[in-house]
């Protein structure tokens, strides 16, 4: 049993990076996993040049969802929204570096999917202002 969850995962779970809220978020997005009840709230502060100035998340969940949120939020800091758009499921799995069974995939991907939908809201909204 002990070999499944690497120490790094447990470390992120116990002390998640970027856990908390932002005072002036540009984007706030909630995500949830209907099958198990996991939830996450993601906040992003975006620079004028479209790069991520700061990011934070709250929410309860399992080690896998917490660790992946912790690692993902670390990784996107300073990146542009376009770069974020190219982040894929494999990146999340690489971060975790452990075997994720199909039933746990939703746990692993919750933060990524919430991030993606935050970014696409933003892009849709920008598209709209551009047109108007």
């Amino acid at each position: 049993m002990d070999d499944l969850y690497r120490d790094e995962i447990l470390e992120h779970y116990r002390n998640p990076h970027n856990f908390g809220t932002l005072d002036e978020p540009t984007l706030v997005k909630e995500g949830s996993n209907p099958l198990c009840g996991d939830r996450i709230t993601l906040m992003l502060e975006i620079n004028d040049d479209g790069t991520v100035k700061d990011v934070a998340f709250t929410g309860r969940g399992c080690a896998i969802s917490q660790a992946s949120a912790s690692m993902l939020t670390d990784e996107i800091k300073g990146k542009s929204l376009t770069e974020i758009a190219t982040t894929g499921r494999q990146d999340v799995l690489d971060n975790l570096g452990i075997e994720i069974s199909p039933a746990r995939m939703k746990c692993a991907m919750l933060s990524l999917e919430t991030l993606k939908s935050a970014v696409s809201d933003r892009v849709a909204w920008q598209g709209k202002t551009d047109e108007e």
């Binding site: 049993m1 002990d2 499944l4 969850y5 447990l10 116990r14 099958l35 198990c36 009840g37 996991d38 939830r39 309860r60 969940g61 399992c62 080690a63 896998i64 969802s65 069974s101 746990r104 746990c107």
Partner: protein
């Protein structure tokens, strides 16, 4: 052990082919029977027997295998009626599962009888299948849906029930046994009080039929539902029971073959109950499989099944807190009103992680909200882990669970 058990789970395991499989080198400790049960060989054989040897449609074939299929299908209906103490097999409507049975009542009886401002009473410990159909009905009819709360000890608050009965509900519905906490509700007493208040009563027996003796006439309820797949039967089987006169007054639910008497372009007359509610080709193989499952359970004796599970849950309620330091077990504290269900949280490990790590030890438990989100809201937990028992569950399974949980605790300890 000093306790004499009429039912020997380890011996029974020989009837369940899955125990011949190895999982990471071990026998499966299947602790998710509240979600669905394992199947004894006789059930698979009954299903395969139909598919291989007399796979005809029912009720219309004037040839040998058609008559064999009809006889086997109707024999299953009779077995179901007998198993739950119905007066007459014609009171048994075959459905896919408990969920469909409840929806059938909501659509057919409900849309006819529930009107604006009427009240339906259910409880906060229901499975989603006994909440959502009533929400949809209440929304359509602009009716009220009220919830009986439950207490710290996992039992329904009977004062809250009495208060709600004073609103003169048209329908009261509740689980006989909670899949979320194992609570065994005082069904007959609650039915009596509901009747005194003028309500009809639907009992969700999904967790009762598999695990304890049931007699709908003694419970004196008006509707009763259960699923075959939790009772050693195949998925796709289950039943709605209702008093004959209630069934007869109900309009049809689904339309189609089998449920009609005569179809004309401009009007249609309907078949007698229960066929009026069985539109289209039924799940013949699942029904036949359920019949075999109920035979198997009858042979064991439902008293013995209940005694076995009570003994197991008492053992678990004793040893788990002793050995697993950070465990919080939800629901009744005693085996007297608790079925073989242990729902719990560990202090530092999330239920998903618990389930994943237990799977590595060939132990299957459920993690999540178990289709009881309102119950979990009330418990103040987003999710929980659940170990649930059946005839093939042994003390060894519970010991393995305890040991594995200790390992999980150790792994997750915030040191």
């Amino acid at each position: 052990m000093a306790i004499v058990r009429a039912l020997d789970p380890v011996a029974l395991q020989a009837d369940f082919p899955i125990f011949e499989r190895e999982f990471r080198g071990r026998r499966l400790a299947y602790l998710d029977s509240a979600a669905t049960s394992l199947k004894p060989r006789v059930v698979t054989e009954a299903v395969a027997g139909y598919l291989n040897n007399y796979s005809a449609n029912v009720h219309r074939g004037i040839y040998q295998i058609g008559e064999e299929a009809t006889a086997a299908y109707e024999a299953a209906r009779t077995k179901i009626a007998k198993f739950i103490g119905a007066k007459d097999a014609r009171e048994i409507v075959m459905v896919r599962n408990a969920t469909e049975a409840i929806n059938l009542v909501a659509y057919s009886w409900g849309r006819k009888n529930i009107n604006k401002a009427d009240t339906i009473v259910t409880t906060e410990m229901e499975h989603h299948s006994n909440i959502v159909p009533w929400q949809l009905l209440a929304q359509e009819k602009d009716a009220d849906l009220e919830f009986v709360s439950f207490d710290e000890d996992g039992t329904l608050n009977q004062d809250s029930y009495d208060v709600l009965l004073r609103t003169k509900p048209k329908l009261v519905t509740f689980v006989a046994v909670s899949n979320g906490m194992g609570t065994i509700n005082p069904v007959a007493d609650m039915v009596r009080r509901a009747h005194e208040a003028g309500a009809l009563v639907l009992v969700d027996g999904a967790q009762a039929v598999p695990h304890q003796p049931v007699n709908v006439q003694e419970l004196d309820c008006d509707f009763f539902v259960f699923s075959g797949h939790k009772s050693l039967g195949p998925p796709g089987s289950g039943a709605l029971w209702a008093r004959r006169e209630i069934l007869e007054a109900m309009p049809p639910f689904m339309g189609g073959g089998e449920m009609i008497r005569e179809v004309h372009l401009r009007h249609t007359t309907f078949n007698d109950v229960p066929y009026k509610f069985e539109a289209g080709t039924p799940d013949i193989s699942a029904a036949i499989g359920l019949g075999a499952a109920l035979d198997y359970l009858s042979d064991l004796g439902m008293d013995h099944v209940r005694a076995h599970e009570r003994e197991l849950v008492e053992y678990a309620l004793k040893v788990l807190p002793e050995r697993v330091k950070t465990i919080r077990i939800h629901g009744p504290k005693s085996g007297s009103n608790r079925a073989g269900v242990i729902t719990f949280n560990l202090a530092d490990a999330h239920p998903h992680d618990v389930a994943t790590l237990l799977d590595r030890e060939a132990i299957a438990v459920r993690a999540g909200h178990h289709c009881t989100m309102p119950l979990h809201q009330r418990l103040g937990e987003e999710a929980s882990a659940r170990a649930s028992f059946y005839v093939y569950t042994s003390h060894d399974d519970i010991d393995r669970l305890a040991e594995a949980l200790i390992k999980v605790e150790r792994l997750f300890a915030r040191n």
